[in-house]
């Protein structure tokens, strides 16, 4: 497992580097020149002020989402749980959009966006909790309620957008998930937040392993299940909110990365958690690089200079395909 973790760290690194060189205007040679201290002022600006923070934000947000998904699935003992389908991500988006619409937060005040996204995330999760109740219900029921809550929250977000369309341009990015235009300010806010909550998630590895074994077993082994689950949910919401405020609702990452992480790094959260962080980082970082590359390609083919493919659209498309595979496999396992 250690070797795999190292391997996937290298993958995340490689993906980050790919993000640096995939964009328009500058090729790998020029990027290398800048990184080694040379290059003309424009190239330096593009690489150090635009591409580097953008890649880092993509990696950090991806790691957050991967972790949040794994924590959520373990704590709820539900393979269909993910921040996207438990009301957490749509809630966070609603929070961010509303705060922006009301003028309380915006492009210039990312910290306020984090707070608003957190509040929204908790509200979304709380709404689901009210609907499903405290009783441990079956995964499918929770998933159905989660989809319901998510739909309602997305509807509310659309209403906010219609009522306050002033900042539409900066707001839409939260809906699809985008890494476009992320700068150091975002990274400076994202990394301490992500690092802190990631450490908490790691500290929760043992309780999460027990929660996966079922509440009866966990309690018999000495775990205060209520408290452990609450801590895990807070951690998942905070990680999701951090990612959403940085890159928006990056579709399916939190739902699918945990499946990959458990398959690749085993059922022990001690390795699955860092694994999920690395996988999430690789997926979003990869999608970021791919979207830049696609944008460049489209620009060349269509001659459209300002066209950019949102990263979230890519993760959603790939994720949908993967979800199909996971769903088919879990059906097979049950029969």
């Amino acid at each position: 497992m250690k070797r795999r973790l190292i391997l996937f760290s290298l993958l995340a690194l490689a993906v980050g580097c790919a993000g640096l060189v995939a964009g328009r205007a500058l090729g790998p040679a020029q990027v290398w020149e800048v990184l080694t201290g040379g290059g003309d002022p424009l190239a330096r600006h593009v690489v150090l002020r635009l591409r580097l923070p953008r890649s880092l934000v993509a990696l950090g947000a991806g790691a957050s989402l991967g972790l949040a998904g794994l924590v959520l699935q373990s704590a709820l003992r539900n393979p269909l749980a993910g921040p996207e389908v438990t009301g957490v991500t749509p809630g966070a988006v609603l929070g961010a959009v509303t705060a922006t619409g009301l003028g309380l937060a915006g492009w210039q005040s990312p910290a306020a966006v984090v707070v608003a996204a957190c509040a929204g995330g908790f509200a979304g999760a709380g709404l689901l909790w009210l609907l499903t109740g405290r009783e441990e219900s079956d995964p499918v029921r929770t998933a159905v309620h989660g989809v319901l809550v998510s739909a309602v929250l997305s509807g509310l977000t659309a209403m906010v957008l219609l009522v306050a369309p002033g900042e539409l341009g900066s707001v839409v990015q939260w809906l699809v998930g985008s890494t476009e235009g992320r700068v150091w300010e975002h990274w400076n806010l994202l990394w301490p937040w992500t690092a802190g909550w990631s450490l908490l998630a790691l500290a929760l590895a043992a309780p999460l392993a027990l929660l996966r074994c079922g509440d009866d077993q966990a309690a018999a082994a000495g775990l205060n299940t209520g408290r452990a689950r609450a801590a895990a949910l807070i951690c998942a919401v905070a990680l999701t909110a951090g990612a959403v405020s940085a890159v928006g609702a990056m579709g399916f990452v939190g739902l699918l990365v945990p499946h990959l992480a458990f398959a690749l790094f085993g059922a022990d959260p001690r390795t699955a958690l860092p694994g999920a962080a690395l996988l999430g980082a690789s997926v979003v970082g990869g999608a970021d690089a791919a979207s830049q590359w696609l944008s460049r390609l489209l620009a060349e083919v269509l001659g459209a200079d300002r066209l950019s493919v949102p990263t979230g659209a890519l993760t959603t498309c790939v994720g949908a395909a993967l979800l199909l595979v996971v769903a088919r496999r879990s059906v097979k396992e049950e029969t």
Partner: protein
């Protein structure tokens, strides 16, 4: 030593246990029997501190369980539930390791090592050979032994087992029972087990405690307690009781359910 004093427990509109007294001495193997819903599983959970009694208390070597934290209680009492959901991909070693949580705590569990207890627990139930196999891939009997190893990994003096032989083939039932009896002897464990099969109780237990509608109706060694009267009163069946020709323990020959609608029937399983 476990002392349950005038234990009562219930849900709104339903009394599950009504003033139960139970004392289990160190090193004793006690079997709890009774119909479904008579409160035996609830009694076991109260003795593990997993439920808070409505009235009365449970003393563990003189300490009130209600005053112990979940972790402190789990360091002294291990309970094996009747069934547990499967965890996809989890190996035998990983599952058994979960039993160390109470001793090591959330951060201690992050470290490796201190696994002798787990190794011994797996060896004790004969699952050491498949430590790295996923639990999902095992048969029902094997899985039950792995779960027994998890409870043993808690390294407690008291072991509570809730129907450890249900759903198992006879061969595996005997295997689990034999393992428990052997461990009890080797380690001086105090064991309380809910048993569905009166035959196992009569064969292996030092003492049988029979529950009916939340009260103790019989309590004593199998020789004294296993009688046609017990079959009728506790299990609602007519039958005879004989002796094993070789070992001389009591053997039941149940014949037919007693006439009329059974007032004891209660399908509300408490889980």
């Amino acid at each position: 030593m476990i002392q349950a004093e005038r234990l009562s427990f219930g849900y709104p509109g339903r009394t599950v246990l009504d003033g139960v007294d139970l004392t289990v001495s160190d090193g004793e193997l006690v079997a709890l029997i009774g119909l479904n819903g008579c409160g035996k599983s609830t009694l076991l959970r109260l003795c593990a501190g997993l439920l808070r009694p409505g009235a009365g208390r449970v003393l563990l070597d003189g300490d009130d369980l209600a005053g112990l934290s979940r972790r402190a209680a789990a360091r002294r009492v291990a309970l094996l539930h009747q069934s547990a959901p499967s965890v996809p991909g989890m190996t035998v070693r990983q599952l058994v390791r979960q039993g160390r949580y109470a001793v090591r705590g959330p951060l201690g569990m992050l470290r490796d090592g201190d696994d002798e207890v787990c190794v011994r627990a797996m060896a004790d139930v004969g699952v050491g050979g498949w430590a790295d196999r996923p639990v999902d891939a095992l048969s029902g009997g094997e899985r039950q032994r792995v779960r027994l190893a998890l409870a043993l990994a808690q390294d407690t003096r008291v072991l509570l087992l809730d129907e450890p032989t249900t759903y198992l083939d006879l061969r595996y039932q005997l295997e689990v029972m034999r393992t428990v009896v052997r461990l009890r002897k080797e380690r001086g464990l105090t064991v309380v087990m809910v048993l569905h099969d009166l035959g196992h109780a009569a064969r292996f237990a030092d003492r049988i405690v029979a529950l009916r509608e939340g009260s103790v109706v019989a309590d004593g060694p199998p020789d004294e307690v296993v009688t046609p009267g017990l079959l009728a009163e506790v299990l609602g069946v007519a039958g005879r009781v004989g002796r094993d020709p070789v070992g001389d323990w009591p053997v039941c020959y149940p014949d037919h359910p007693l006439e009329g609608p059974n007032p004891l029937r209660n399908e509300n399983h408490i889980h």
